[in-house]
Symmetry: C2
Subunit: 254 residues, 2 copies
């Protein structure tokens, strides 16, 4: 089968025309949005509609529909007389190396943490189990709203093993990653972490805290970090604003 | 600072009472939802409100608010007289090994692909660049709606290097992963892939194709896969339904 356009649909006037245009618009939007997020338009201006229509061998209508999708996502703004401007900045967060947020985003701006709660708590059974401790054991709980360059990025709920967490309660939790504080305080390195990543919609509470629209897409991460060669010491439940963070990874076939 | 409850807030009657209850409900919901998603309730029934209130040393109101959040997310249903039942099944997809969907989800049910388009196309510049090819070079494009056990899981747009993709157009794309077909056809293994993961809201087109609500949270994955020790051959733009997939990974500090 050979197709003559970069997108294997013909925009016919027939009954399938609208669906085909929607499919083409979706494909164009997927490619453009990755360029936007990856910073491929260094001056922050997208090519004009005619140029894009030529590049994708698509109609201006399909291109317009693609740009509308990017605008609806908050990635670009369309300014009459000027064109389509990139409005989003997403931070890259690598999954291959276990890093704290301030370490990872150093070049993007200062990370500050609003500490919403910090103190010793008896562990709920489901949490205690992750640490290999009996239900009701003391843990240290830290809840932080994390900002980059002043803008809310994530809401982090952290449980720490008591011997690890207690000394940290006197430290500067506002300006430091927990990982850095743990390593400084124990004189040991962290090792392996297991994590899960999900896309979820913001419930009203999380939306309010993150100053995101209700229902906005968030990355929900659960991460259990261990001391190097050792026991689990740090269990985090994190909600990142989806419009401000991209996770990146390298993976191998075998 | 020592706190006497598993959640470091007191539900006072003062002006901060509602906020504190919301914070506690959020923490309870985060812990419970991970248990639900991880299948920690094998009979599919959550403990009753009183038991949860005792475990989390929280009020029944806070527990109810947490269960409401899980219900709003579609993870549980609350049946009067019976309790809170798990209604969601999320598939785990490992990020540490490069796997096709059918390989990964073998034990969860058959993966079938509705092939929405398949054929040769001239590459848009942004796509050609990823393959190290000139703009307008021929590539093979495959667009698939992928289902597990009959339910839509993802919409995948795939560009393949022409020598790799062309022989696959005659293969059974409905019942096979592209990775498996590439390796069978070339006699070579795939090697490294670079990927990005984002949380995005479903636009109307993607929502319709995936039969998800408009605005539903999706995992958007872009993945460029290489032949073992070799060139990039497979570029995919994937949108997974957030309510049906969890990504998992192990990561190391150094």
């Amino acid at each position: 089968m050979t197709l003559t356009s970069p997108l294997p649909y013909t925009e016919t006037a027939g009954p399938c025309g609208a669906r085909r245009r929607a499919d083409r618009a979706h494909t164009i939007a997927e490619i453009l949005r990755r360029q936007v997020v990856a910073g491929a338009f260094p001056d922050g201006v997208l090519p004009d509609e005619l140029t894009l229509a030529a590049e994708y061998a698509a109609s201006r209508n399909a291109v317009r529909q693609a740009l509308d999708a990017l605008r609806a996502e908050g990635l670009v703004d369309r300014v009459p007389g000027t064109g389509t401007l990139v409005t989003a900045a997403k931070y890259p967060h690598g999954l291959n190396r276990l890093c704290g947020l301030a370490e990872t985003l150093r070049e993007h701006g200062p990370v500050t943490n609003e500490v919403r709660a910090a103190g010793a708590v008896p562990a709920p059974a489901a949490v205690a189990r992750r640490f290999g401790l009996p239900a009701g054991s003391d843990l240290v709980y830290v809840e932080r709203l994390r900002r980059v360059g002043g803008l809310p990025l994530s809401l982090d709920l952290t449980y720490l093993a008591p011997d690890i967490g207690t000394p940290l309660l006197g430290e500067d939790l506002v300006n430091n990653d927990l990982f850095a504080l743990i390593e400084r305080s124990t004189g040991r390195r962290l090792g392996v972490a297991e994590l899960t990543v999900e896309a979820v919609s913001a419930d009203p509470h999380t939306a309010a805290v993150l100053q995101a629209p209700m229902g906005a897409a968030l990355l929900a991460v659960e991460r259990l970090s261990h001391l190097d060669g050792g026991r689990p010491v740090d269990l985090e439940f994190i909600r990142f604003r989806g419009d401000r963070l991209t996770m990146t990874a390298r993976t191998h076939r075998s």
